[in-house]
Amino acid sequence: MPEEYRLKKIDDYRWEIPKSEGMRVPGLLYTDEKMLKVLETDRTPLQVKNVAYLPGIVNYSLAMPDMHWGYGFPIGGVAATDPEEGGVISPGGIGYDINCGVRLLRTNLTLPDIKDRLHNLLAGLFSNIPCGVGSTSSLRLSSRELKTVLRDGAKWAVKRSYGQEDDLERTEDYGAMPGADPEKVSQKALKRGTNQLGTLGSGNHFLEIDLVEKIYLPEIAEVFGLEEGQIAVAIHSGSRGLGYQVCDDYLAVMRQAIEKYKISLPDRQLSCAPLSSPEGQDYFAAMASAANFAWTNRQVMTHWTREVIQRVLGISPKALGMRLVYDVCHNIGKFELHSWDGKKKRLLVHRKGATRAFPAHHPQVPGVYREVGQPVLVPGDMGTNSYVMVGTKLAMEQTWGSTCHGAGRVMSRSKAKKAARGRALEKELEERGILVMAKGWATVAEEMPEAYKDVNEVVRIVEKAGLSRKVAKLRPLGVIKG
């Protein structure tokens, strides 16, 4: 197994891993000199190289500026495959938490409206939105109903009054990915889905009350419904146990498939099957079902969040004005039309810890944002900022319309825990004006700010490289975590 890679600087924000034996395309890392030094100490570049072995991969194995060491794909990895050239689909290139994603809700509230009630708001959210390990939802779905969720996605929630019609327009793929087939989801996965719809989960998932601290592009911010001094809410969660099980089930299928289709790979976690094969098509249909579950999950939590805030503040839905800005997924594989080889081609784009970032006038950007481009949500760690960005034409040309998805870890969880030992993280964060409520404080330690790259730096590189533009900067006021 070849272990080495070479790095060739292209410009200040791009490094190439030239094609070597086994690689079908070169690798391309979006980073800067300083961050690259950190990346070279782990195995992120090697993982970028390994992805380049996938059959049918086109142009480059890409890594976004928040890239870090994952398993199989790096986190921040993007790869497009061409179904007409034997292109494959790899569950490891999408991840266990299928359609892990973020949504941002704007409100009519400003800081003075909630300043004295922040504790109550957070406590209300904390007790009404199930979070933490082992937590289950008050919603129980019959197997028939669960399958409807898997097929219809967030539409199911809106139909059941867990949301409003315009939530769907502001959700990637309108909250329902085409091609979902619940019959391709195993009984094991379905079982795990029956009591987890409307649960936040644990680990890096969160629900956050934010303050819009700074606006960079006022005209675009206005279209997004954002202004300085405003209160917003961000929800980061995914497809829960159902999605993990879909990935796990199909990785086992792919283990057999690589032998059947004689695919040679440097890492078992990259196991895959041709898009044209039954294995590949079944996985896609199951993956799309799990993605629909995730959108419905975030939609249900959105509804409960609206209810809690209205109740705690004693205001009407209209006064609250809590409208969805956007909902993006950052662990997904999607068929999209891209310019490639002088033609428009239908490619399967894997985004593993990367966000779609389509520019203005792209037909898949919803009508309300068509003139300005798709909102991109980039959450930071719980102690610093989050960003709202907007897609660019350059990203469309260079990265299949993809950008970063967050800050990216720099510290392992065990290291973070050690660093947090003896410290009162809760207090430290409170002193910085951030109230945290968590089910497991071990999670807070693992997720502490120093465990992440500085999101401000990541976003700076993203903008310098031209992959998206900053629209607004948010600051957390209150966070609930599992």
Partner: protein
Amino acid sequence: MRGYEFINHTADLGIRVSGPSLEELFENAAWAMFDLIVDLDTVEVRDEATIRIRGGEREELLADWLRDLLYRYNGHEYLLKEFRIEKISPRGLKARVRGEKLDMSRHSLKREIKAVTYHDLEIRKLNREWQAQIIFDI
């Protein structure tokens, strides 16, 4: 020896386990996984199950063994703390495992393990000791 150590991995959680025989290596890996999930002192032995896993190569057998056990928790809410491999061969393994059903009022859960990954999964024999490295997605 029931210990395991953490290996440095940025995104997820990696451990290194060992055992004087392949059987004990598998037992120790299972114990380590549940030790990551729950405070095992709070778990009692009330139920027993027999598990059969069909084999492939050693690494895949280890992954399948851990995946099976993880689903017993994630899918059926069983916390396990005692593991005995009765037989292990290239054709698969047979084991008896013991534990009890999850009870949130007594059990102290530590973290969610999403999955057992195949990334860098490796079993080696060093002198007279078997070692394995496993990375979990958490």
